[in-house]
Symmetry: C2
């Protein structure tokens, strides 16, 4: 059977009109000769697994220290409700449909409540119902342990369910429906000229997600990548083709390496960052001091990023909201630090930049031309990160978008 | 282990204060040396399985023709939410507690969605958790088929869950907590002197329930009766001992037959009844006509009750809301009927009336003394039914309650 997995987020399901639109997408896939399997998030739950429906929120307000096991049982109701509603919508439109919980769909996970990992998918219920002609609607975001405990998958859980089902069914496509036209070259709220990418590699989309782009969850991408199941990121609200996510070695429109002509794929940002500058040497006693400082931060549970160790100075960043705590940790271990809160990390991501000279030069040129101060700069073979002040973040995103001609 | 099953209805769980009161009852059972297992209904769902929480009602308003399978999945969320909340309440009070869905508690049912029957209880999760020291909270009203389909048990489903668990665990008691002090001799809203019975037989409580008393569901009583597990009907809102439900042959306070001194146990009523009087003979052609008439009513799906066949006339009742339809059915088959709508059936129930002479005489005397017209009267060995006009119903209930000295 030519399976296609279609995943719809909570914002696509909030009203009867939207659910009919969603049903239209599902029926269109069927009309194209595919066997659709649908994965849904909770109505109104999107991205943040804790912004769920009113009833569950109310319970959580009263019992904010619910144990993880019971919390997952509660959370699982959100997708049961939306799945039942979606199956009912399809049936009302004349298409036999059946709803399966994560457990019934064979999503077997470990016992790590609220952030469970899928261990395997036993898709026999899904295949049986599809063979009987039903459109199967599966509750995303949830699974079950081998011994029947209900679990949830944490952030991006429904994407992960869709990808795992796609692998289990050897689907032709896993379509992730969102409220944007695909993977954008930058946040369209900042860059008016931002465009949806036609195609992107699994690697690139993971990097974009890690650097702040709100796209498919990296865990879902990794699962799809293992069996090379192509993902498509599409909009519920338009008929545009969306973005195809595939391997860099895939043949796409006659080109073997889909990324070879493109140095940068997208510009992303993460704000709410504080830069620390600690004056410690990098030799002899200084090295010992560095070790002590990093260990003290780790013991305090502060995660650090953007680490640059220079001869006389150590730079790193923490999230703004733990900056004060980090300052205290450093004081307690005897180090004075300069701190700049209110920074932002702007990233240029592209599998094609690897080995291409002049990328950093282009970035520096673009930013300085617009009088944007670079506080710090790092790079890997697929990403260049630049730390700027928060108030210059939008300008920096636009400058880089323009520099790499992403609007063309 | 000395198990005790405590079942709490939705009205006992609506506020944090009430849930703490419920927790108090559970902890008291523990302090008395019992191992408590708790069964909960959905918050706000009581008796009527369709008066459930807002969210689910909303879904149902939009999709009133949800298929039974998906409806049951939706309905099951109500008890998941209340069970999670109840387990959290116990934990917040310092008692380790764990919540189990019907499926996890091993409530195995047939596939008759929305009215499933419990086939067996595989209580190994319940026993394991209780052995580990947890208070186990189980979702009432729901179960699972052998192959993992979620089912609900229909009216009185949580009582049935409690009774079935009581049998599986060989519990010392199954306590059904409600908002009244036990099984009452009559509805206290009608009879101010109505009292809670100290003890009642399984049989009597079934008859009371069938005759309109809002007590434990008969199915639950039948299950408990099979293994002679004593039920106790108690109030969440008081500390009164409630009503013990047991076998008529049980030794209770030195007496072997608990019902032998009591002719009538309680007075119940059902209103909204229409009486039909059809003048058909009971011989020759008349018998054929009767058969034709009863078959026509059955084919129209009208259920009839209180059937008296006399030489020249046939009497029966239907519910008021199908009276008009019944009249049409009779007209179509060529019979004219007299109809009195707005009647009520008042019943005197008591296992002790069997073989006791003069019960009917007492009833007729009591009613005529108060100028209440008896429209019809039937009796079995445990119940006398009297049909009266709705406006005389309360007076009739009070008269019978007084006649059989139930206030003493």
């Amino acid at each position: 059977m030519k399976y296609i997995v279609l995943k719809f987020g909570g914002t696509s399901l909030v009203s009867p009109e939207l659910r009919e639109r969603v049903a239209g997408k599902i029926i269109a896939a069927k009309d194209e000769g595919y066997v659709p399997v649908v994965v849904v998030s909770a109505i109104g739950r999107e991205g943040d697994p804790y912004a769920t429906d009113t009833l569950i929120s109310l319970v959580k307000q009263t019992y904010h220290d619910l144990p993880a096991r019971e919390m997952d049982m509660l959370m699982s109701c959100g997708e049961i409700i939306s799945g039942v509603v979606m199956a009912a919508t399809l049936q009302a439109m004349g298409y036999p449909a059946v709803f399966l919980t994560g457990a019934q769909a064979g999503i077997i996970t470990d016992r790590n409540y609220s952030g469970a990992r899928i261990l395997q998918v036993q898709a026999k219920n899904v295949t049986r119902y599809t063979q009987e002609g039903y459109i199967v609607v599966v509750a995303g975001f949830q699974g079950t342990t081998e011994d029947g405990e209900i679990t949830t998958l944490g952030r991006g859980g429904s994407d992960t369910t869709a990808a795992a089902l796609g692998v289990a069914l050897n689907a032709v496509y896993v379509d992730i429906y969102t409220d944007v036209d695909g993977i954008m070259t930058a946040d369209p709220r900042i860059v008016a000229e931002a465009k949806a990418l036609e195609v992107i590699t699994y690697d690139e989309i993971c990097h974009l997600a890690h650097e702040g782009a709100k796209v498919v969850h990296p865990r879902a991408v990794e699962i799809a990548m293992q069996k090379s199941i192509p993902l498509r990121v599409r909009s519920t609200f338009s008929d545009s083709p969306g973005t195809l996510v595939t391997n860099s070695g895939e043949v796409y429109k006659g080109t073997i390496d889909i990324t070879k002509d493109r140095i940068v794929t997208g510009i992303t940002y993460i704000s709410g960052i504080a830069q620390f500058i600690v004056r410690i040497g990098a030799t002899g006693e200084g090295l010992k001091q560095q070790r002590r400082m990093f260990r003290a931060l780790a013991l305090a549970g502060i995660s650090i990023d953007f680490i640059n160790i220079l001869p006389e100075v150590v730079l790193f960043t923490v999230k703004d909201d733990v900056a004060e705590k980090a300052v205290k940790v450093l004081e307690n271990t005897g180090y004075m630090s300069e701190v700049i809160t209110g920074c932002a990390k702007v990233s240029a991501v592209g599998a094609g930049m690897s080995g291409v000279p002049g990328v950093i030069a282009d970035i520096v040129e673009a930013l300085t031309k617009d009088d944007i101060q670079i506080l710090q700069c790092n790079d890997s073979h697929t990403t260049v990160w630049v730390l700027v002040r928060r108030e210059e973040m939008e300008k920096a995103v636009r400058a880089l978008h323009r520099q790499f001609k992403l609007d063309q």
